[in-house]
Symmetry: C2
């Protein structure tokens, strides 16, 4: 199987879109629809799927569950995925204590912060100082980090994470991170989400 | 100006996409690109924008800043948008204390919870019992709510909010809400975001 970085990124986007379609109640999907939702040409969608032996029907499209199952195999079942949280402020602390992660096999292994007051290596989820970040990631072979530091500190923290070998970052800082190396970054911009809702509400009134 | 609900929803999506393009460093955008990113035909994009007197150049496209500015007028400058938080668990509490919202003119007016232990009407951001939710929303003319209750409680809370007149919900419960009335729902699915990163990392290893 020949898969390059760009293809991986597309597959990740397909998966996200497929989960959304499934949540909306769809059972099947056409390469056109999936292409539209992910910004990929339908031909490219079909090509990518054929790499994994996933073939659609011309008139019926692809079965969403079958596609997701094929993709799930790569994730591994009953496996626990260890994630760290960098920045133990309000959001960081909430994520460390976020119960629903466990159900999905996601375990928060440790938190990291620069503030000495927050350090607590004996807590259920231990909080370590930032200087221990690199050695911890390497020793424990951590691949995914949640970045919940302030906007100002985010880029530097991102550089540290990438340098230590992190390959996926879930970023809560409202900035576009510019990673130095190979890393996938998903940004959850809470302000933008809220602003969009406000915008929607205002424009709805505007028309009345 | 004739604007219907579907158009409003599209404009909200355009705005989100435009902010992303801007963050990526783009200055101009074509109706094709914006259409791709939002699942709308380029012709529809041009039609929607012309309603607001926004015209692009055939070869140059639309100026992103100019589009966003036109859209911002509707949001209103220097205005404070009051938002409530329903569910004062880990995530709810973190959002109530989330400083960056203030910068964007978003103010968390109050929190609501069913747990009597959490009620505190005298806190800086007062926490009220759920039975006060409807009267509070109506009295204070609140339009936007953050829903941070558990998966099981989310649908019932959503129904309450819509009944009280809420028009926009930022939902953190990992389910698809089925609203009874006219409301815009943005869901932030933290598990899905993390799972996607894990998936990305696994598949990246897989190819090596």
């Amino acid at each position: 199987m020949v898969v390059n970085k760009k293809c991986v990124s597309r597959l990740s986007r397909y998966r996200k879109a497929l989960l959304r379609f499934k949540n909306l109640g769809f059972v099947k999907v056409f390469s056109d629809t999936l292409g539209d939702a992910t910004g990929v040409t339908p031909a490219q969608v079909r090509k990518d799927f054929s790499l994994f032996g996933m073939v659609g029907k011309k008139r019926g499209g692809y079965e969403i569950d079958a596609l997701l199952e094929k993709m799930q195999v790569i994730l591994g079942k009953d496996q626990i995925h260890k994630v760290i949280v960098v920045g133990v402020g309000n959001i960081g602390r909430a994520l460390i204590q976020y119960k629903p992660f466990e159900k999905d096999g996601i375990s928060i292994a440790a938190g990291f912060d620069i503030d000495p007051v927050k350090i607590n290596p004996k807590a259920q989820v231990p909080i370590y100082p930032m200087q221990d970040l690199k050695s911890y990631i390497r020793k424990k072979k951590i691949e995914i980090a949640i970045l919940a530091v302030s906007e100002i500190a985010a880029q530097e923290a991102c550089d540290l994470l990438v340098d230590a070998g992190i390959t996926g970052i879930l970023n809560f800082a409202p900035i576009r991170l510019q990673p130095l190396g190979d890393v996938e970054i998903n940004t959850v911009n809470l302000q933008m989400e809220l602003e969009n809702l406000i915008y929607f509400t205002k424009i709805l009134k505007h028309r009345k």
